[in-house]
């Protein structure tokens, strides 16, 4: 049985998408985060991306760990099932959920403490395993929820609000994701909606492990001078390598770009990514070059943003495990239980 969505009555000015939903239908509860928190902008970008992609909200599952960032799934996609799991372990819970039903879209939301500190192991292994998901780290370089301690992405030399200087090397999650085999790797900035929304859309369309490191200033504990994750710092040091549009496969693709500056990438699900190259030497299909480029720009004090790497024909965990198309949670006794006759044979072999 299929159920057609019955949109609520809406303000006539609100636009509808192809499914008849408005932007509202993708929103969640009112945010309880600090006013101005970068995380809220990311939630808004997720809402907009899902609306624009015409996704049925209930076919998305949103999972997170623990932290201010991990609280955000309450504040978007209210018609989706959500799971606020334990600190640093969202990747494993999402992996299990994905195995149980490959038909849903999986959106994992995490923080830099959640993913780079306590959860770095699970982050790394989920990337290695190519779980088909969108994995967004809302990276503020600080533990927001526990009030301002350094996280593993805090830059060396960064100053906390209390004046403490971080002496540990930072973990670059983008570099790790590239090295560990993620098939879609991007970095963005919560304050740059024009860049972030299409990146999330492209990541959702990607049929493999898509990772977005989204710098997201914490206005309470990491937006002061001396912080390398503040709004001002990121705006001043942001170096975008490309600009992205996502075009649905069902639309006609018109070739209207000048070769060498614009590239069309078709993803596995039929959607097209239109990439306007900003940095000429940048090649989104070369994993090794991407790592090299990032390191060089980082050494020059720049934060590279944009779509950094994409494999247009990704593999995913279900493919590697060679699983059936049907969601496991819909398999019945006939599909799962070998039955009494088979058991008799097993018994006979054990005598």
């Amino acid at each position: 049985m299929t159920f057609l969505p019955k949109p609520k009555l809406h303000h006539p000015a609100l636009g509808h998408n192809a499914l008849g939903y408005t932007r509202r239908d993708y929103e969640g509860a009112i945010s309880t985060l600090c006013a101005g928190c970068g995380h809220d902008s990311i939630s808004a970008a997720i809402v907009r991306a899902c609306f624009e992609l015409d996704l049925p909200p209930h076919r998305i599952a949103k999972l997170s760990g623990i932290g201010c960032s991990s609280k955000t799934p309450t504040y978007f996609l209210g018609a989706s099932h959500g799971f606020n799991s334990v600190h640093g372990r969202m990747p494993s819970v999402l992996t299990g959920a994905n195995l149980a039903n490959r038909e849903l879209i999986y959106l994992g939301v995490s923080g830099d403490g959640d993913s780079a500190s306590i959860g770095i192991g699970q982050f790394a292994h989920a990337m290695r395993r190519s779980v088909n998901m969108v994995y967004i780290v809302e990276n503020n370089g600080v533990y927001g929820l526990t009030k301002g301690q350094f996280s593993a992405t805090s830059d060396k030399g960064a100053k906390s609000k209390r004046g403490v200087v971080n002496s540990d090397e930072p973990i670059d999650m983008v570099g790790m994701a590239l090295q560990l085999g993620a098939t879609f790797v991007a970095r963005s900035f919560s304050g740059d909606k024009a860049q972030l929304v299409p990146l999330i859309e492209a990541a959702i369309r990607h049929q493999g492990a898509a990772f977005i490191d989204c710098i997201s200033p914490c206005v309470a504990f990491n937006n002061h001078e001396g912080s390398t994750k503040s709004y001002d710092f990121v705006r001043d040091h942001n170096q975008a390598v490309n600009a992205l549009d996502v075009i649905e496969g069902r639309e006609e693709i018109t070739v209207d770009y000048a070769p060498g500056t614009v590239e069309m990438v078709q993803q596995h699900d039929g959607s097209w990514l239109r990439l306007r190259k900003l940095a000429d030497e940048y090649d989104v299909h070369d994993r090794v070059a991407a790592m090299d480029y990032m390191h060089r720009r980082h050494a020059a004090g720049e934060i590279v943003t944009g779509l950094l790497y994409v494999d247009p024909a990704p593999h995913d965990l279900h493919g590697m495990l060679h699983t059936v198309d049907a969601p496991f949670n819909a398999l019945d006794d006939a599909a799962l239980v070998p039955g009494a006759a088979a058991l008799e044979k097993i018994n006979a072999g054990l005598r």
């Binding site: 209930h58 372990r89 494993s92 195995l99 849903l104 965990l317 398999l331 005598r351």
Partner: protein, 614 residues
């Protein structure tokens, strides 16, 4: 060249003795030894084989013990009647373990000083190395065939029918037919030598009987894995750890056989070897949340790592099945020795107030039935269910009743609200106790476009899954979880009573792998004039039968395999029994508990209590 230092009249026993093989790990003895046990089984005589092995792959000592018991005692007995001493490293301890009047079979190629023997045992020397070196040039062959040669000698010494072993060799090398003839040759070489040079038969004899019936022989881990297949598990996530790894591996084997879709060749299962136990249980919980049946297999250290997640699954009410194949702890403890030492760690796993559902299978048969049932219970109760095996039943082949299955049975998916029910306007509150049994309804993600979505969290929530830190709402939820735990009592397998043949005020409570030793001990105690009623607990929370049993007896012994009497503590805590009512009978040296130990300890505790009684 039979070598007997002094004339000893050896033990005279038919179908009732213990043979122990002392080998070096990695010497290829395992398959020969298994065949030895199986040959006796094929002669209709029950055997209980046990591997005793160290935590390494090659070079350290291993033992294989076969208890032969026409009476059907499958617990470890203790003591050795025939020692097959193939490991010079453990010689002294092996010699010491032989019962007076027992037999020693050894490789006499290198002469041993008389001081290395005992004068109250029968010594049977055979120059195995010399025979092998003469017959084979390849060192690997010398080693492997040595094992078959001594099996040949034992068949002559114990009067095992050679045809039975010939058949077994044929079965073992089916498909590799080239190997059959040389193995048969080695077998007969050993047999002929023994017949010619040793006093055959010895006082220990195998006589064909009819005591095996239709029983099967399988290890508990494989049986539990098969239970998971029949229980409908489709997701398994695990991290290797002895003694549980073979459970996950058996699941993979059975799935290859029974869960590959015929039409497409694709898998109706997913097995992930995770990066650690945190990830294993995380995946299981994610899959359970999303409506698939999922499990992990682990042992004590893994249980410790999973604690935070168990609390989440308990509080957020997510089905999960955990097979804990227990080994001696704490920490790495004795990783290849058996214990029942995770009872409390599982019953109250995680921080905060938690209580979990436990199942205690006694043998592979119950590993299968409980292994399957665990998934129904987890779905019905929406909570983690722990199946507590241990190394003794998990990793040893055990004779047990054949598996049965009712084809009309359907998986009990519990209270899952469907899209049609939501569409029809049924009220959905994720944590609403609609039926008064403490079990709420859940929905699978993606069920309905506008109804039934909820947010799962480890934080406190109201009946409609809305975040709240209001005290009354929190307590309301915690109380409901207790009601649900109470409901579990009626769903779990009931305890099984084994009443004494004569009226008695003595009772014994036991569980899991202690079962065969306890049954045998009850017999021994009855012979000594101490009849005892026994109750085998099969699950936690405890059925009310357990409290009644305790109330009905003056003295109750809780028999278990850990230091602190963990089940006893659980009984005291949950049933509010006075601690003095429950005597602790504990065996925890890492070897399986024996009837001798239980009977001795109970008899001693009983006389002591008599002495202090006024």
């Amino acid at each position: 060249m039979s070598q007997s230092l002094t004339e000893v009249r050896g033990l005279q026993r038919i179908n009732d003795f213990v043979v122990k093989f002392a080998n070096v790990n990695g010497s290829g003895s395992a398959s020969a030894n298994t065949m030895f046990g199986k040959s006796i089984l094929r002669m209709g005589v029950p055997v209980a084989p046990r591997n005793i092995f160290p935590s390494n792959i090659q070079g350290l000592p291993t033992w294989y013990e076969v208890r032969v018991s026409e009476a059907g005692h499958l617990g470890a007995r203790g003591g050795v009647d025939l020692m097959v001493a193939m490991n010079p490293q453990t010689w002294d301890q092996d010699i010491r373990s032989i019962e007076p009047g027992g037999y020693l079979f050894y490789d006499s190629t290198k002469p041993m000083p008389a001081s290395k023997f005992r004068d109250d045992i029968v010594v049977l020397g055979m120059p195995l190395t010399e025979l092998c070196n003469a017959a084979y040039s390849d060192p690997r062959q010398r080693q492997l065939f040595k094992n078959i040669i001594y099996i040949g000698a034992l068949s002559a010494l114990l009067e095992i029918e050679p045809a039975v072993i010939e058949t077994l060799l044929g079965e073992q090398y089916r498909g590799k037919d080239k190997l059959i003839a040389p193995n048969l040759e080695a077998f007969h070489m050993g047999r002929d030598y023994a017949l010619k040079h040793l006093d055959c038969p010895i006082g220990l004899k195998v006589r064909r009987a009819d005591q095996v019936g239709d029983r099967i022989s399988i290890d508990g881990n494989a049986a539990a894995a098969l239970g998971a297949v029949y229980g409908g598990a489709s997701v398994a996530a695990w991290y290797p750890i002895t003694p549980s790894s073979s459970l996950a591996e058996a699941f993979a084997r059975y799935c290859q056989r029974y869960r590959v879709d015929k039409a497409t060749g694709r898998n109706k299962f997913a097995i992930v070897q995770a990066e650690d136990e945190l990830a294993s249980i995380g995946m299981v919980i994610g899959a359970g949340w999303n409506g698939a049946r999922a499990f992990t297999a682990t042992s004590g250290p893994g249980i410790s790592l999973m604690q935070e997640f168990f609390g989440l699954a308990y509080f957020a009410e997510i089905p999960a099945v955990i097979f804990d194949v227990q080994r001696a702890g704490p920490s790495t403890g004795m990783p290849t020795r058996t214990q029942q030492c995770d009872v409390l760690a599982c019953a109250y796993a995680s921080h905060g107030d938690t209580k979990h559902v436990l199942l205690f299978p006694e043998d592979p048969h119950e590993c299968f039935t409980m292994g399957a049932q665990a998934f129904d219970l987890a779905d019905r109760l929406q909570t983690p269910v722990f199946v507590l095996l241990d190394l003794d039943i998990g990793m040893n082949e055990r004779l047990c009743a054949p598996f049965t299955w009712d084809d009309s049975k359907r998986m009990d998916r519990g209270k899952v609200m469907t899209a049609a029910e939501l569409e029809a306007g049924k009220d959905f509150g994720r944590y609403l106790d609609v039926d008064g049994d403490g079990i709420p309804y859940r929905t699978y993600p993606g069920t309905h476009p506008t109804r039934g979505a909820f947010f799962t969290r480890g934080t406190s929530k109201d009946r409609y899954a809305r975040y709240t830190e209001e005290g009354p709402a929190y307590q309301d939820n915690m109380e409901r979880l207790l009601r649900k735990h109470d409901t579990a009592k009626s769903l779990l397998p009931r305890p099984l009573a084994h009443p004494a043949s004569a009226p008695t005020r003595l009772g014994a409570i036991y569980y899991g792998s202690t079962s065969p030793a306890m049954d045998e001990a009850a017999g021994l105690l009855a012979e000594e004039g101490l009849p005892i009623d026994c109750l085998r607990v099969r699950g936690f929370p405890f059925h009310h039968d357990v409290a009644e049993f305790i109330a009905a007896h003056d003295q109750v012994f809780v028999v278990e395999q850990n230091r602190d009497g963990q089940l006893r503590s659980l009984l005291i805590n949950e049933l509010e029994v006075a601690p003095s009512r429950l005597a602790r009978i504990v065996h925890y040296d890492g070897s399986p508990i024996t009837a001798r130990f239980i009977a001795g300890a109970i008899a001693k505790a009983h006389t002591q209590s008599r002495k202090v009684a006024p």
